[in-house]
């Protein structure tokens, strides 16, 4: 056997693959073979490191050097300079946006420093398609422990003790849910993993499934033992082909090793997992609709009770948890519920994975302890706002959540504080907005989303969200009327109180939270017919000021010939013709064109 002296880890998550990771990997294999180094250096494909903005990412061990935005043509340099001669290729290192300092080491980068990577510990660290790598990191030890040393009741108690709450959004205590299903009447029970991640801008579950699928499988098997189920389903959307592929590989490998199947570890416990691909309807993330969909019916929610714990899949007691919830289970079993409960706040324990998107410098995935402030997530980990713009709001919790303004940035991030502030944890999507974002427009975007994803079963959601969307649309088009805000508030209240499922009950949240913190923007649209952020095209007007030197560039660039004026004379925009494209403003060398 040859001694492997270095590992080259190449991120093969969806983000890095789309920025060229596969080509980089091929180039590494070719270069290493050519230099005769392929026997002593191993190339490893890993899951997502979370720092998607900087992909394709390459980490070289034993030094742990972190290379960013590596392209095919850079590979030769890394092989010759680093792998052969041991010199770091400085130009490919990550540079801190604030200090411009180059950081060679993975763990020293500000993006990772404040994180607490527990659920994501293996993501980007192991090859998700090789079960041996998971086992080497302590994988399946939790399953072994519960099957040989613990009773199902004590497993439920351990999860209760940990204080873990559902990571899909609702935040229901996981241990209690398991207890309900365990105590439900019936011999046939099911475990279901909800991987129907649908919030715009959210990709936590996808990254966990792509980067460490065995952790989720192990969590489900532990749950199966605890509640007395021998069958599990993973409901994952068909839009996640890589996650599905890796799950299939993982399930097959676990079956071959006897870690899934019949009589696991000779304990008499059987557990089988099936994958059900969803077609991507947002409402199927709602648990009762999801169960309908698995059964082959149209994905529509039904009223609860009975809860799935009593009557779920095919009428049998069913425990449904989110991907991240299951991914938390193995460490709770291995290290104990008390250890887990020591992390986080009084009522929100452990860590939460957030997907950072929008106008933020470090787009990517971050896992932080509960109770951290929003400011730390956005500025310390996220690296602040793009292009030096001013922060305006952060949308948390997807279409069911809310927007928080600057003054709420020091809010502790936990389930209860967020609800109080008019937002919610949701599944963990964070969309950051800067000063050029119009909050009425944002509310319209989310309502448009929930409106088109409404399944149409109940009237408040089907009709109510449509009416709200109509009002928002006319406000952004300058047709807002006195009393519109009150109408929105009344509709929102009624929809929240009467809609059948979570989708409808939370759909008005983006409107309510923007009204709470940005009411003045709504008023400016309605009363002054003005969009303060200058984002609503129909309300924008471009004007040429006295600073105009009459160079004529704007006149030339205008696609609809709306600008007139003599050379060296003040030019004028004909508002009736102008299509508000903004080309003139971008072109003007004297900053003489204003938008308002």
């Amino acid at each position: 056997m040859d001694h492997i002296r270095a590992h080259v880890l190449i991120c093969a998550g969806t983000g890095c693959v789309s920025s060229g990771a596969k080509k980089v990997e091929a180039a590494f294999r070719e270069q290493l073979a050519q230099k005769g180094l392929d026997k002593e250096i191993k190339v490893v494909e890993t899951g997502c490191h979370g720092f998607c903005e900087m992909g394709p990412l390459v980490i070289v061990y034993p030094e742990g050097v972190f290379y960013v935005r590596v392209q095919e043509e850079d590979v030769k340099d890394i092989v010759e300079t680093h792998l052969f001669k041991g010199r770091i290729v400085e130009r490919l290192l990550y540079k801190e946006p604030m200090t411009l300092e180059k950081v060679p080491n993975y763990s020293d980068i500000s993006f990772y420093k404040k994180q607490m990577r527990m659920v994501l510990a293996n993501c980007g660290h192991i090859n998700p398609e090789i079960i041996e790598e998971y086992v080497a990191e302590g994988g399946y030890a939790a399953l072994g422990k519960v099957l040989t040393e613990m009773t199902p009741e004590s497993v439920v108690d351990e999860v209760k003790k940990s204080g873990l709450r559902g990571r899909g959004g609702g935040g229901f205590p996981t241990g209690m849910k398991w207890g309900f299903t365990r105590n439900a009447q019936g011999t046939k029970k099911y475990v279901v993993c909800n991987a129907d991640e649908g919030d715009p801008g959210a990709f936590m579950d996808r990254s966990v499934l792509e980067g460490d699928p065995h952790r989720v499988i192990e969590g489900m098997a532990v749950c199966g033992y605890a509640i007395g189920a021998d069958e599990g389903y993973i409901y994952v959307r068909a839009e996640y082909p890589l996650a599905i592929k890796r799950l299939k590989v993982a399930i097959q490998q676990a079956e071959e090793m006897g870690l899934l199947g019949d009589n696991i570890f000779g304990s008499g416990f059987n557990f089988h997992i099936k994958i059900k691909e969803g077609a991507g309807a947002f409402v199927c993330g709602e648990e009762t609709a999801l169960l309908q969909s698995i059964e082959g019916k149209r994905g529509m929610p039904r009223s609860r009770p009975p809860f799935p714990a009593i009557s779920g899949l095919w009428g049998k007691p069913t425990n449904i948890n989110n991907v991240e919830t299951f991914a938390n289970i193995p460490q709770i079993i291995n290290k104990g519920g008390d250890w887990y409960a020591s992390i986080g706040t009084e009522k929100s324990k452990g860590t939460k994975v957030f997907a950072l998107t929008g106008r933020i410098n470090h787009t990517g995935l971050a896992e932080v302890p509960m109770g951290i402030t929003m400011r730390e997530i956005i500025y310390d980990i996220g690296g602040g706002i793009q292009n030096g713009k001013k922060f305006k709001a952060v949308q948390i919790g997807g279409p069911s959540g809310g927007c928080l303004p600057e003054e709420m940035l020091d809010l502790s991030v936990d389930y209860d504080s967020l609800i109080q502030a008019g937002a919610m944890m949701g599944s963990g999507g964070l969309v950051v907005m800067d000063e050029t974002t119009c909050m009425v427009d944002v509310a319209k975007f989310f309502l448009n989303f929930t409106q088109s994803e409404s399944c149409g079963k109940c009237t408040p959601c089907r009709e109510g969200t449509k009416r709200m969307l109509e009002i928002l649309t006319r406000i952004t088009e300058g047709q807002g009327q006195e009393g519109d805000i009150e109408k929105l508030e009344k509709l929102a209240k009624n929809i929240k109180a009467t809609a059948l499922c979570g989708l409808g009950q939370t759909a008005p949240n983006p409107v309510l939270s923007t009204l709470r913190y940005f009411r003045h923007e709504y008023e400016a649209h309605i009363k002054e017919k003005r969009c303060p952020a200058g984002a609503c095209a129909k309300l924008a007007a471009y004007n040429i000021t006295e600073a105009c030197k009459g160079c004529g560039l704007c006149k030339k660039v205008c696609p609809v010939e709306a600008i007139s004026g003599e050379v060296k004379g003040l030019h004028v925009i004909d508002q009736a013709v102008c299509i508000k494209c903004g080309a003139c403003m971008a072109k003007c060398p004297f900053k003489a064109i204003t938008k308002g």
Partner: protein
């Protein structure tokens, strides 16, 4: 896999596979500056890898470094055992490698006749 013991055994066997990605262990550093390469550093490196493979050493990392300015003493090879000073050997040839590894890396006895210096941190 039939029992939990099987899993444990398998994990122990596999752990060395991922060890490179965790910190800790003994480091062997070969000087691979232009001077080092010219003096035969690559052959020394190959000998190191061969010796480690032959002895099935698991907790050893092999790194390289550039020129530290003592070109006439190349090939330079450093050994850093956990919590011990960094010891630099000079004019190392492939034939010296097995002795350094057997004496110093495995048994912690410095091979005095080849030592150039010690760096205490």
């Amino acid at each position: 896999m039939k029992t939990v013991e099987d899993l444990k055994r398998m994990r122990e066997q596999l752990q060395s596979q991922n060890r490179l990605r965790h910190s800790g262990g003994t480091e062997i550093i070969v000087g691979m500056g232009t001077c080092g390469i010219a003096a035969g550093a690559r052959a020394v490196m190959s000998a190191v890898l061969e010796e480690i493979a032959k002895r099935k050493l698991e907790d050893v990392k092999v790194c390289q470094t550039g020129c530290i300015g003592m070109c006439e003493r190349e090939v330079l090879l450093d050994v850093v055992r956990p919590n011990e000073p960094r010891v630099t050997y000079g004019r190392v040839t492939p034939a010296d490698v097995s002795k350094i590894i057997a004496e110093h890396v495995v048994n912690g006895r410095i091979v005095e006749e080849l030592v150039v210096g010690k760096i205490v941190e």
